[in-house]
Amino acid sequence: MKRQIPMLILSAVGTLLVVSVFIPSARHWQEDASLYFDIIAVFAFFLGGGNLIRVHTEKVNRKSAGWIYSVVTLLGFGIMLVAGLFKIGNPGGIAGDISQTGSYFQLLFQYVMSPLNSTMYALLAFYVASASYRAFRAKNTEATILLVAAFVILLGRTALGVLLTNWIPAQLSVLQIPNLAIWIMNAPNLAGQRAIMIGISLGVISMSLRLLLGIERSYLGGDN
């Protein structure tokens, strides 16, 4: 019983949504489903946020290693909740939009969250460099092909690429690195992308069918 009902819900909802694609007057089911999803996700957040608070409070109570950071996290979470729920400092008051400039919520976003966010993102530049240094080595055929393709595209995007090969006569201009880079993007790269995309969609179809037919149900949990 505890397993059959969820299974039934899953198959019914999935099948209805597949069918709705073909029936013009049923298309709005798809929008309804994503609205439902949004609403369920907020309720789920009460579990997630609750988990966050519980994990960190426990750390503080037990004074386990790094408990002081948990205090900081809890403080940050609390400040943001208070600022956002009561819309403190919001020029439009409680009825105004939360993202209005001047509200504490927006200030915290602008001066705290936003720089943290873009700096974390910017670390990517460092990792791109270390990955290139370490991983792009001609260890075997595959690695060599990867390396050569990346190298040609990289060269093609700097002045070096033009300088190195602009002695190649116009008839063979395809072989100049910038042109070669574009050709790689146009032909073999496109072919590879296509194969990956087609493969992915067939993979999604077979997995979705496994789910709808109830063959794959590990995420639905046990009988208790």
């Binding site: 969820p6 899953l10 198959s11 909802v13 099948t15 209805l16 949504l17 309804d32 609205l35 949004d38 609403i39 369920i40 996700a41 907020v42 309720f43 579990l47 950071y69 996290t73 940050g76 400040i79 943001m80 909740l81 956002g84 729920l85 939360i98 200030l107 001066y111 705290v112 969250m113 720089p115 943290l116 700096t119 974390m120 670390l123 990517l124 530049a125 791109v128 595959e142 990867l146 390396l147 990346a150 595209i153 990289l154 995007r157 790689i184 032909a187 073999p188 496109l190 590879g192 992308q193 296509r194 194969a195 990956i196 995309m197 087609i198 999604v204 979705s208 789910l211 639905l220 949990g221």
Partner: protein, 211 residues
Amino acid sequence: MDSALIGTWLAALLTLGIMSFIYKDNLYYKVCEAIFIGISAGYWFITYFWDSLYRKAWVGIVHQGDYILLGGVILGAMMLTRLFGKIGWIARWPLAFIVGATAGLKMMVYFTTNAMAQVHGTVNDMMAAFSGGDLYDLIGRLVILIGTVTGLIYFYFSKEHKGVFGGVAKVGTWFLMITFGASFGYTVMSRMSLLLGRIDFLLTDWLKLVK
């Protein structure tokens, strides 16, 4: 004191804190990480709260009479049964709803926009780059054809990659490698500009070293 100035200092200190991680994990980074987690979790909760719960559900049901949304609220409430041990299994119902909806919707989306459109594209628009009849175009077409077909053969599961079939699949992996190499090379520059933005902020807006 000027609030924008405080803001800039705060932003600069947080920027340096996160950057210090690439040297090694340290106290400074841990503090920034803790702030980041707390503030951002709160940010998203508030955003969901006002946007989904208040604007979509409450306003939709109470003010606009969109009673179909009640179903979402009921399913959402079922999610919370997890908090009450004994009846926690009810939370599987909304989960089943979501997995079913995702499977059904995404199956069709992937089928039309990935599979069919890509096959269509290979037959149809790939010719844009190689539409002529000279050697350059013929080679281009041939490469796309071979690349797409051998790439698909690589993903073929029900035959061992041995003999001729294995050789063809091997060619497929080469094409995948070119694809990976090319996308890696192409994105490097845009990744650099992100770092450029941060360092520029530190040097120009904060330290005012550069005018």
